[in-house]
Subunit: 480 residues, 4 copies
Amino acid sequence: MSGWHEECGVFGVIGVPKAAELAYFGLYALQHRGQEGAGIVAFENGRHRVKRGGGLVSEVFDADDLAALGGSLAVGHNRYSTTGSCRPENQQPLVSHCLGGVIALAHNGNLVNAWELRQDLEREGSIFQTSMDTEVIVHLIARSHRETLVERAQEALRSVRGAFSLVLSDGRRLIAARDPDGFRPLCIGRIGEGFLVASESCALDILNASYVREIEAGEMVVIEAGRMRSIPLDGKRDAHHCIFEFIYFSRPDSTIFGHPVDPVRRRLGHVLADASPAEADIVISVPDSSNSAALGFSERSGIPFEMGLIRNHYVGRTFIQPIQHLRDLRVRVKFNAVRSVLEGKRVVVVDDSIVRGTTMRKLVKMIRNAGASKVILRISSPPILFPCFYGIDTPTRGELIASTHTVEEIRKYLDVDGLAYLTIEKLKEAAPAALGYCTACFDGVYPIPFSHTPSKEILENGGDWGQSPITKCEEPWSPL
Amino acid sequence: MSGWHEECGVFGVIGVPKAAELAYFGLYALQHRGQEGAGIVAFENGRHRVKRGGGLVSEVFDADDLAALGGSLAVGHNRYSTTGSCRPENQQPLVSHCLGGVIALAHNGNLVNAWELRQDLEREGSIFQTSMDTEVIVHLIARSHRETLVERAQEALRSVRGAFSLVLSDGRRLIAARDPDGFRPLCIGRIGEGFLVASESCALDILNASYVREIEAGEMVVIEAGRMRSIPLDGKRDAHHCIFEFIYFSRPDSTIFGHPVDPVRRRLGHVLADASPAEADIVISVPDSSNSAALGFSERSGIPFEMGLIRNHYVGRTFIQPIQHLRDLRVRVKFNAVRSVLEGKRVVVVDDSIVRGTTMRKLVKMIRNAGASKVILRISSPPILFPCFYGIDTPTRGELIASTHTVEEIRKYLDVDGLAYLTIEKLKEAAPAALGYCTACFDGVYPIPFSHTPSKEILENGGDWGQSPITKCEEPWSPL
Amino acid sequence: MSGWHEECGVFGVIGVPKAAELAYFGLYALQHRGQEGAGIVAFENGRHRVKRGGGLVSEVFDADDLAALGGSLAVGHNRYSTTGSCRPENQQPLVSHCLGGVIALAHNGNLVNAWELRQDLEREGSIFQTSMDTEVIVHLIARSHRETLVERAQEALRSVRGAFSLVLSDGRRLIAARDPDGFRPLCIGRIGEGFLVASESCALDILNASYVREIEAGEMVVIEAGRMRSIPLDGKRDAHHCIFEFIYFSRPDSTIFGHPVDPVRRRLGHVLADASPAEADIVISVPDSSNSAALGFSERSGIPFEMGLIRNHYVGRTFIQPIQHLRDLRVRVKFNAVRSVLEGKRVVVVDDSIVRGTTMRKLVKMIRNAGASKVILRISSPPILFPCFYGIDTPTRGELIASTHTVEEIRKYLDVDGLAYLTIEKLKEAAPAALGYCTACFDGVYPIPFSHTPSKEILENGGDWGQSPITKCEEPWSPL
Amino acid sequence: MSGWHEECGVFGVIGVPKAAELAYFGLYALQHRGQEGAGIVAFENGRHRVKRGGGLVSEVFDADDLAALGGSLAVGHNRYSTTGSCRPENQQPLVSHCLGGVIALAHNGNLVNAWELRQDLEREGSIFQTSMDTEVIVHLIARSHRETLVERAQEALRSVRGAFSLVLSDGRRLIAARDPDGFRPLCIGRIGEGFLVASESCALDILNASYVREIEAGEMVVIEAGRMRSIPLDGKRDAHHCIFEFIYFSRPDSTIFGHPVDPVRRRLGHVLADASPAEADIVISVPDSSNSAALGFSERSGIPFEMGLIRNHYVGRTFIQPIQHLRDLRVRVKFNAVRSVLEGKRVVVVDDSIVRGTTMRKLVKMIRNAGASKVILRISSPPILFPCFYGIDTPTRGELIASTHTVEEIRKYLDVDGLAYLTIEKLKEAAPAALGYCTACFDGVYPIPFSHTPSKEILENGGDWGQSPITKCEEPWSPL
């Protein structure tokens, strides 16, 4: 339903006129992956132009910007980041002058050894402009002793560990790569003579482009002069696709990891209905994120699907904190319960996940106030027990309600008449079989070891420790 | 689905602290009734404060504004108007200094005799600041020879003809009124010791306020010093509630004209399924406006309801016109088709109405491209044949596709395998029985006669002729 | 030097293409008469277009605005007003729809009977949109029973009392008028086939237009169809030109009241040097307002003129209040003393006037810190003892330092070695002889009686009582 | 008068609370050195905060910014740059993460070997974020193998050649340095327990701080823990102070290179009057830049100084190009001639320099139109024949009127009755004797050899070739 946030969407296009315009609409379709900022770097005839800013894609760019950007090649990025950051320079795509040219890089993910690499690089005299882990990659490319950009990128990406689905370009070629675990999605499409790369296929659909395939885990793709070639990044590893992309992050109309999302969510609903049936009159979703799962639950259980919650289309990004007697307003601004649907009914609410539980608690109250006689909650994923360190902005463990409460305690807190989650086994049963998954947020099994053992404190408090010393504004000067 | 636009939402609150804040959230919930601008006038201790601006409610006001507005009484307004208007002064609530004080007025509707009244008033030396029909009302109040504001308002509202659901205040009392036909909705709520007035009940829900009742057609309500009294505006007339409020304009979670909207839309789906059944595998809606009707159709027909179209939550208000080979992008920016849902399926699309048909044509193409084997269209209202002159921004008759084409021609244009509308009889059958309706847009029977016979040309071209000479920017100077 | 502020500059143009552009540059040249806001109304082929906003002329308008405004006739206004006003609607030119057309009005001055007229008009049912006295004039025009606009304007302007130099237009003709006392300046110019009207001739110079003549006190000028005619407003009265326009308000390169300003200021310097000679090494001005008077003083006294104070060209309109140990910064932001000029010198500082004395005190300290051995102050006007009620924003009497302190006390407060003012007689001797003057701020002789005797309190506290009950935001509702 | 532009002002402060506030006012006073942008980096307790933006200092920062910046140490920068640059990243102070901390750097000047150094650095894997020559310095510091920051900075500054007056800090110490030629000024001041560094002493005066001394050519000053130490940068070289700083760039109330500016300009006037006397009635300046020289000319020649041109205080930074018949408006927007001063007079106009001559030509026309019977022009500097490559934005040689025309031809073009420049000898005679000067713009003797011989074409076309390949947006990708 919310509470977890993707950190980015990435987009690349090559071989078309007005590439910035295509990037704009691609980012538009990927807006759900990051609403805090957006940027496009467009290349044309050896020149590059940049526009990056805070806010939604539609707020950052106007028609004049797109006309000025132009381009026959473009790299774009949607950013999620914590508000009020003191670092305006933390914008993507990252633009770096090096090797006698310019490299633009857009990255979705999180590198777990960025901190050590950065320390090494600074020790050797490298200068960083941002606090983003992403910047390490460009430095590794610039410092590589290999000949070509492709070889240099290959070498650099072999040095970093963690999650990365990225697009980079020097204005001549577009390079796209996924880490060997394949945490985040990244797919290839075609439009006319041109190629597209995008976090999700919905960014191809908006452009009426055709879907080609997912980039493989551990694969680097180089597109240049109208041709595409595939380069392996690394010795074979088992892939660990983020299973939460299927549960919540990606759009249901997207194809990710080679599989359409909606049927997976539908199957989650089926499995959930089988495992945790409910005696009820209607099934409702929390629109729109759990629509597919709720339809699946309804389908399998035979309980009619209804729209008991209405979502306000005009919710702005800023929220004005109201006076005290208007409490719970934050949720009422977003949703309203439909009395005529809910009154006197036993209601199954199907949601995709619970992070902190605070919003769900208010929704339940709203549903009860609208006359529901019984509220049964079904969650189409297992309890979230552990933070993510591979590109998702996670609350600390203490804030994850399932990490500190039993299911029965959560049921009481949410004031529902019944509560059931999926098990990890059932979850994997519903997800596409051939893929390997990362389920660390459910079971704490982190596929990538951390380079310096994270202290217990950090493990308790969450936070992306691969990156954390850098993201803080406080940097004590190292003794010289 | 779209194409028709409400012209306003109105809101009033009295007897609470920080009234502007309540108005803000009330307007937030009424945002669908007008996205071009918003305004709040707050009164406190004889002072008034105003903030009006262009854009969404969340864009017009920030926390500082609300704190500065304060107020124990507030009047608010959401405005729909054509873009690029040359009249920045056309903002509501209207604020007028008269009778030794200030009157704030928010109006939803359209007066058909505004032009004549204005000519009379100007001849007598009145000065107008805007081109809005609404301003006539304040002048009539100011010019009235009656003693009290209430009597003056009563007299003024007896002089105007047309559609009005309005809220006005002088800082002491809140006056709310609906025209004798009752075209537009307006309801009363309570919050603590205070009273609320709003176009739809969803504006009460967001504040957790209680719904009291609809203001009657031809009723004026005066709220002062914690008490409410009802004053009849006029000799009895038959009411003519806008039936389109049930079909499309109001939110499904609202109660209007005393009746919840969702069950009416559900019944429209039932009736439609009975009258025009379809052989199909799935029923889909055009989210979110036809969700209720589509669920009703599914329910009655037994064909499963599916979500075959995904609506983008981040559609901005401005649209950047793309380059030519991206045509049909405007609809893809808003919607995407879900291939896994639609592929190989015979699909019934239920929509609430067709105005011009251009968007539906693109949606049908998108649904077919996603693999639907058959597309059958069912519309939960009759063909729109005539323009509205009671507060809705209507295209000219020539632009109304049903006005110039047969159903079969429309079917071909939209490229659907089947097309059926509701009849007016079936529509009235599904709508709440006790109410009288205006169905002029379907049958051309206009309940209020026009003061000067509209020329055939105007009737053909549409446009709100009650108001039109005023809304133009070109005003030749009258010979003096 | 400052402390007093004009309330407006007005500008009109007729008979040229792109009239708004000319108005823009005219207002640019009149910027010193009002920096808080600006507005232009342009008429063309019976249409009017308006742009008004807060800030400097160069901030309010951009090239797109001017292109959109266009016009063959335009009325413009520079506004001075107190910051943070709660009335955004108080913008000029005032635009009123009346008499079947539109009237634009720009006014410089202050009407002393506006409050009574407004009460009468509201009692008769007139509606006001602003709290400006100016609005009364349009209502009187609209309510007049005369036939033509010219006759109506004549009648209206005969009813108001006080200071007005105004420009109004209905899109066909440009009407300009000065009150019978002729408090504020207003002149006529020609450019090609067109006519211009402006507060000062510097607005003609910037357009390379030719100066024709000052509009007479009590004269109304009507320009239409390429011809200009003169209409007397009233029975003959003695004129009372604001003598402070010569001392400080107008630009030295302007011609006002038919006389160039610079020679008058030069003569003030001569007379001052004769009446109050000083033993000193150099004469300096407070740039740029007292440059002319200081040059005159130097010329007559034979003491060399030097530039001992440098004025910062980049002073913004907003001032950030610094931390405490940076006190006196406000004056240092604007001026710096030149040590190499002042060190060891006996310095005569010539300034045009002293209002509160606070800035001068800091300047004196700055001059002393730069090494001046002696600082002698000469003021090219008499002590300001009384507030102005004819269009100038005046502090209360209590704030006028000369109203509460003797010259010797002021000398001590300013910490100067000598201080002398001009006498009223000497002032009149230096000013052009044929003109009558208002010297109320020096002698309390107000040429226009107040319609309701101002209370002693108001007289003490200053404030423009002709207008004051209206300009307040607090308006208790009158009993109905 | 104009036509040449400084490229920067720099400011540093250490050892005071609210350092950003002091930097703000320091930059305010240095605004004439760069109006295109401004930035402040403030350090406090190991944290740094940055605000940079386009426009005037008063436009870039508001009170909230200054409060947020805080700091006990701050580095500030005023930027001049060509409009419409495609590189928003070219902002100063430059902020770099390196050596485990952050370095902020503000630079005034131009490095002539930046291009080669950058090529070397990129070849070794350094990444650049901007196209500014300044960035090279930080890379050299980061790459140095010396131990401490001070040693590293010393080494880096020994590697670069050209003009630099810079301030840098790591949050602990403030380092300020001038190149061995000492092209641009940089001085030290004290405020309470703190130290200040500024391009000109006027930035100390605004803060009421005391002037300590100029930083020597080739000196690096390190301020840390309340103490200041001086470190020589290089083996002794002859200094070459930019003589144009005395002629035009610096403010007359500043002390630069250890000498107050106003007396130098005064002496230029004396020498000019001696060398090129004129028969005339009055001497006027082009306010305010040539005021001092004109006063000097008047003083020596005995011809009275008058203010014949009035400068508009409200000239905005943007200029709206008017319609054709308003030609020459650009100069009339800035200046107006005072007829009463000029009419019938033989006028000596003293200006500091002529770059292109276009503005002066319009001023002369304006002065003649105001009635001057004769216009004699005296320039207080020699003809400008060569472009500057040490930090000034110069037009190409072809645009320098004196480079392509004889004095007599210039006289005819400007339409003056007489024209004389200073000789280089007289100029040096008037300037402080002990200093060495760069007079390359007058005599083509460039004190620093260029690392790669500039082609004849570049020499003809001007442009800063030390930097030019970098400042262009077009960067062809180097063959890999």
